[in-house]
């Protein structure tokens, strides 16, 4: 569509203002995280502190075990993502390339359960994990999250697009199912798998309600849970709160900026399919 230069300028102006509004909270966060206690309580606010107090970050690490929280978040993110990718690839392969009894019924059943909100599962899962003795352990944070119907659905759709002929050709050449999956399907489906990994990693890093419920001790908290308990304790020390928030937010922004191609494609793709 052709657009006149005047309305183009107008559009860029509006989009620019919108972008500033989107980014302002992050600028305010980082700016506050580098201020002294006096500068935080200044009106009108100052945007660039006189000296950048990186000490606030050190201070936050001293006030609460953020190093532990950080490590827990990384462990949970890596292991649950790894688990999910493995279970997803195997299940998506069966649903797309194997012809077995009850396939359609089973798939419909799984897709049907996608509409059940996770909140419904909260209480019984908690009881189950208590009985297993997993509360306040990595098992509770990781194992329930090592499979996802949504990911299986996404990858199955991708696998379906890989032509059957490839499968036949491989079989004629004496290729086993597993080798076919490993050396042909997975490399072809790499973009879809990367999307699944990234969406999972972001979801795991930001997860809150579940880790809040299944952890009791400081040693087991993940970053978001640690941050809320720190905010209750530290209360109004906003420069430290903002330093801690920056630690949680920045890694995901950086990850997103470098790998956004995969993330956006995954979200747009899931959206179009409905």
């Amino acid at each position: 569509m052709k657009t006149s230069p005047l309305s183009k300028t107008f559009i860029y102006g509006l989009l620019g203002i919108g972008s500033i509004l989107m980014l302002l909270p992050f600028v305010w966060m980082i700016s506050t995280s580098l201020k002294s206690g006096n500068e935080v309580m200044m009106m009108p606010p100052i945007w660039i502190p006189e000296t950048f107090r990186f000490d606030n970050y050190v201070e936050a690490f001293k006030k609460a075990p953020f190093a532990t929280y950080f490590l827990n978040s990384v462990i949970v993110m890596v292991l649950s993502t790894l688990g999910e990718v493995i279970t997803t690839i195997l299940a998506a392969y069966a649903f797309s390339k194997l012809n077995f009894w009850g396939k359609d019924v089973l798939f419909a059943l799984l897709v049907g359960t996608m509409m059940v909100p996770g909140e419904v599962l909260l209480v019984p899962n908690f009881v189950l994990l208590s009985n297993l003795g997993w509360i306040d352990r990595y098992e509770a944070l990781i194992i329930p999250w090592t499979a996802s119907i949504f990911s299986i659905f996404l990858l199955r759709q991708f696998f379906m697009k890989i032509p059957k002929e490839l499968n036949y050709a491989a079989r004629v050449d004496g290729c086993t199912n597993f080798r076919f999956l490993w050396s042909i399907m997975i490399p072809i489906a790499k973009p879809a798998i990367v999307t699944i990994i990234l969406l999972k990693a972001i979801g795991s890093w930001n997860a809150f309600l579940w880790p809040l419920i299944v952890t009791n001790s400081k040693e087991m908290r993940t970053l978001p849970v640690g941050l809320t308990s720190f905010s209750t304790e530290a209360g109004t020390v906003y420069e430290l709160l903002m330093a801690a928030s920056t630690m949680i937010i920045l890694p995901m922004i950086i990850l997103f900026i470098f790998l956004q191609k995969y993330i956006i494609k995954g979200i747009a793709g899931a959206g179009i399919k409905g």
Binding site: I11, F26, A91, F100, L110, L122, I149, F208, S245, I272
Partner: protein, 292 residues
């Protein structure tokens, strides 16, 4: 042949099915029964009596009514504004090429960040004395507002934060929808002498109807489940005198605060029922395929 393939499929499916069966299917059923626990001994896991007591309790509980009401207000506050704004931004993005990706990235950033962390940032933005929100409003002669500490502004604060957080997601879906509209429609309309506004009304909007519908349903469902934002924004409370109490927060309170598993499960199933209606609607309409 089929028998052999079935055996193989069992091998491939068992890891996923084990996890999903234990942590999704079983709890789903268990939760359903739990909502009918009338007399229950948590410590020994013995149910003395089943009944509708929990649902009767919800029916009569003023706090639950408040939670339902707040949730609907929240949904009505977030969804229409978010959809209009994101559609507008998506249309603008779609009409430019230079810096298109750059803007798209910026609008999407809030979506990938931790809800809890950004909510705490917004708590600081909404600070009555030193927050930038009141500072910016003071330029326009607005007196300081007690965003998070007054009952009438707690919900608007939550709504503003949620719109900001979710805008990028809707924009991405709208952009994907806009890209599926072929140029042929626009060219045909142009030949017929349709101006910019008419092309928007008669080509873009109808063609975008399925996308808009999808975005609406997803936003509605997501908004019904709001929790993390509230917990972090109001520091582990549901706003001043429950002014930001939602259904999921109510479930959390009953479950984790009062250990009343029966009522918590019943309330969760009420939420499920509401979401189910919207999901069916989505399913029904997308099957029918909106065409013009």
């Amino acid at each position: 042949m089929k028998l052999k393939e079935t055996a193989k499929a069992v091998l491939y499916l068992s890891p996923a099915l084990l996890i999903i069966g234990v942590f999704t299917i079983y709890p789903m059923i268990k939760s359903f029964f739990m909502s009918f626990y009338a007399e229950y001994d948590y410590f020994n896991d013995v149910v003395h009596r089943y009944g509708f007591d929990n649902f009767v309790y919800l029916w009569n509980d003023a706090v639950f009514h408040k939670a339902l009401q707040n949730t609907f207000i929240f949904v009505l506050g977030v969804v229409p504004v978010s959809i209009l704004l994101s559609l507008w931004i998506a249309l603008m993005l779609n009409s430019i090429t230079f810096l298109n990706k750059f803007f798209r990235t910026i609008y999407f950033i809030p979506f990938v960040t931790s809800v809890v962390a950004v909510s705490i940032v917004w708590r600081w933005i909404f600070h009555s004395n030193y927050g930038i929100m009141n500072y910016f409003l003071s330029w326009f002669g607005v007196d300081p507002i007690n965003w998070l500490t007054s009952t009438e502004w707690a919900m608007p604060s939550l709504i503003i934060l949620s719109i900001w957080k979710g805008l990028g997601y809707n924009i991405i879906i709208f952009l994907a929808g806009l890209q599926t509209i072929g140029d042929t429609y626009y060219n045909a309309a142009r030949i017929d002498g349709a101006n910019r506004w008419n092309r928007f009304i008669h080509v873009t909007l109808p063609q975008l109807a399925p996308t808009t519908f999808f975005v609406s349903i997803i936003s509605i469902i997501g908004s019904f489940k709001v929790f993390d934002e509230i917990y972090a924004l109001f520091d582990g409370k549901a706003g001043p005198s429950n002014s930001a109490l939602t259904v999921v927060y109510y479930v959390f309170d009953k479950f984790y605060g009062e250990w009343n598993f029966g009522v918590a499960s019943a309330a969760a199933y009420v939420l499920f029922a509401i979401i189910f209606v919207f999901t069916l609607l989505q399913f029904y309409v997308s099957k029918k395929k909106i065409t013009y």
